[in-house]
């Protein structure tokens, strides 16, 4: 089998501006939704209590809500979790609350109106933990960004590292934008997925840049856009096959992983799709506009001090 039968280099760079405008628009849209709707943060970040119940038959959410309402709980959310038998209850953080007993208290409240439930999981997170998690998440993101920029600058050139990180941060913002727009729950595992995506889609840029460097060294007389076109074209089959393989794994998680892994897999899916796009069609034009050229890779022979005309030294 051979999916990719490309005769000539595809002139990606001719449409560079279009791609970047599309990117910029998606990016701005994502930022807009992030600000207008905000992320639906999970209990891990906001603090609060999460209770998962399982009923032997389909659960009556109205009754659960009523029972908890009469028991004096306010601002709560009750919803199905995965199946109609599983119920997820979220309770906000309260100052005067005996956190240690909340699981039992809820079960007691439910015993009259909606009996038959078994307690599957209780999660309580205090306010200080949530704040710390958010801070640590931001720090982790920062460390990844710095680490990648430094590594790529060291291995390639600063132009490459800057464009790679811009292209991939734009992926991260777009994932966050999706989560904000659909109000999907943003949990710690989604954060892990986002950071993994950042590392993963930088891969893409690295593979393309590797080719760019190689082509610059090997082929003379090509203009920079031509070099980039060639590099992208010759790696495009690998890019798509790799991503398809990874996506198969992620899809399997999406289908079989259950509710807990669902949003994790979803974040990865968005990340993978936009990862291809951004690292190929956004990062490369950025490199071009930042002024990459052949001279940066083909180093002139260094003159050694004291060498004679033949360049020999003893």
């Amino acid at each position: 089998m051979e999916f990719f039968r490309i005769r000539r280099d595809i002139p990606f760079m001719r449409h560079a501006l279009t791609f970047n405008v599309i990117s910029l628009l998606t990016f701005l849209l994502a930022v807009f939704f992030l600000f207008s709707r905000g992320l639906h943060l999970s209990v891990e970040f906001t603090g609060g209590t999460l209770i998962e119940l399982n009923y032997p038959q389909a659960a009556n959410l109205e009754k659960v809500r009523d029972a908890l309402g009469t028991a004096g709980y306010t601002d709560l959310s009750v919803q199905n979790f995965g199946s109609s038998q599983d119920v997820l209850i979220r309770l906000p953080l309260k100052a005067e609350q005996n956190t240690a007993k909340i699981g039992e208290a809820v079960m007691q409240a439910l015993a009259v109106e909606a009996p038959g439930a078994t307690l599957r999981r209780v999660e309580f997170v205090g306010p200080q933990v949530g704040k710390e998690l958010a801070e640590n998440g931001a720090l982790a993101l920062l460390l990844v960004v710095i680490g990648i920029v430094v590594y790529l600058a060291f291995r390639f050139e600063w132009r490459f590292s800057v464009s790679a990180i811009i292209a991939n941060l734009h992926d991260v913002v777009i994932i966050l934008g999706f989560f904000a727009f659909f109000q999907w729950e943003f949990s710690l595992s989604v954060l892990a997925a986002v950071l993994a995506v950042l590392g993963y889609s930088v891969n893409e840029s690295v593979v393309v840049f590797d080719r760019v460097r190689e082509t610059f060294k090997k082929a003379r007389g090509l203009t920079t856009p031509q070099v980039l076109d060639h590099a992208i074209t010759s790696t495009i089959s690998r890019t798509i096959i790799t991503h398809a393989s990874t996506q198969m794994m992620v899809l399997s998680m999406l289908l079989f992983g259950g509710e807990t892994l669902y949003y994790f897999a979803l974040a990865l899916t968005i990340g993978i799709c936009f990862g291809i796009y951004s690292s190929v069609l956004v990062a490369s034009p950025l490199v071009m506009w930042l002024g990459v050229s052949r001279e940066q890779f083909v180093k002139p022979k260094r003159q050694i001090e004291g060498a004679n005309a033949d360049g020999a030294v003893v």
């Binding site: 307690l119 590392g199 790799t242 198969m248 794994m249 992983g257």
Partner: protein, 625 residues
Amino acid sequence: MNRYPLWKYVTVVLALLFGLVYTLPNFFGESPAVQVSSAKATLKIDDKTRERVALALQTGGITDSGIFLDSNGVKVRLPTTDAQLQAKDLLERQFNPDPADPQYVVALNLLSSSPRWLTSLHALPMYLGLDLRGGVHFLLQVDMRGALTKRLDAISGDLRSLLRDKAVRHAGITREGEHIVIRFRDGETRNKARVVLEDNQSDLLLADQGEGDDLKLIATLKPEAIKRIQEFAIKQNTTTLHNRINELGVAEPVIAQQGADRIVVQLPGVQDTAKAKDILGRTATLEIRMVDDTPGALEAAQAGQTPFGSELYVERGALPLLVKKQVVLTGDRLTDAQPGFDNQTHEPAVHLTLDSAGARIFKDVTRDNVGKRMAIVLVEKGKGEVITAPVIRAEIGGGRVQISGRMSTMEANDTALLLRAGSLAAPMEIIEERTIGPSLGAENIRKGFLSTMWGFAAIAVFMIAYYVLFGLVSVIALASNLLFLVALLSLLQATLTLPGIAAIALALGMAIDANVLINERIREELRNGSTPQAAIHTGYERAFGTILDSNITTLIAGIALLIFGSGPVRGFAVVHCLGILTSLFSAVVVSRALINLIYGRRRKVKSLAIGQVWKPAGAGSATAR
């Protein structure tokens, strides 16, 4: 050119063998067991205990399938869960005849059923996290400010007696926030006090304040003293938690310090969360203070006029009691508390043992206060409760104290337990809690397993269809990657969580990238007219640089997660990082070894089974222009 030296093949074979051996225990499953361990530091578990267990089971008519002794205690493997419960009850009765004072922890456990030769190689099944096996997880925050103010209160008490001993007349000692303020009427006394304090209290920083006849000496704790107090507080609390959890009979509790002021408690398999929380939640601290028996003061306090420096309490039994705020002794001076009987009256009593500093203070206080009452106050969440308020009959030296009078045997037991377990150095509160039911854990394992399996199957089918023999080799390399990863996780006994399983799946999905890179590169070389052998050689060589770069960037992200992540993120990060490392080896070395084995020995290779390689008409490429 495509031949590996023998040592490389040997390395690959050894690595695979290692992977196989350490992955193996995960397939044997677990069998029910009962574990007997010591509930006291002084009690050692040795071969004698093992014999005792064996004898007890024999007389009880329970057949076991093996008794072992390890660092955790004696473990008995049993054929069925019914036998497990019977054995637990039997051993509980045998080893803890007095349930009020347990000497041993008898707990239900699960033991790996892998053969003994594997266990002796330290090949154990992966250590499953709470979300996979069910149980309770708590994160407790130690109130360091509370620990410091408590210490400062104790120090102000010390200062009072110190200045009195040295006959320095002060006009009052109070604690204001995190300072101790000592007032003086004239500068000379203040200077004298300063000398005394500097000689005796090396933990304090002293500063002058005030003028005229309202002179003050402000004492604050030195930073290193603060650090020491905080370290001590968290250590003491961890020990206390250990003691309390021993009462629960949990097989493998995890009680560990996290950061400067937090303690993680994980109780796998515990389902009675209410009891667990109840025992952990008893964030009690113990204080010994004097009862204020100034005539009329109690009546005044009951009328709402509590005298300065005293607090109104209700003794157990509803008798009102006025207790001085000044703390004589705190729970951390207490080394032991045991229920027993008074030697002369044969009344139930509690025997306390104090450490040497505590014994000295206690001697002084009792000498000065014969005939007066002292109160033992248990402070829970900022609220105090007087457990008992005995009368001091004589000076008590030597640090051995007996509390008796108006107590039943049961009360003596309770008090002893509270005193023993209740001495937390600083208050704590639960700031994070997770309870996971066992059925949910099993379901999580199944889901994680299914996702990995189907994802792997899909990738395998696709790779073989697309790259034929090279695809098969890639799939074998991927399978060996899975093998290495599981083996490493088993060997390191890193905690596997559901996000960890997701990371295994993702590691496989990402690891295939390396093989795709290699295979695509070989096809490209072939397209450009290289001979098959040269194509393999250059393909692997050229791809390696790219693979390294891309894996390092992914590793950077993984390490950042490892540093800053906690809980589920950390579980993900550990596996993610390990997965990247193993994939480098398997995708490059293992797959190359296989390819070399297949093609390297042949003299003439006409074509490679790498699927169809399409060549554009008028071959050549852009670079050849």
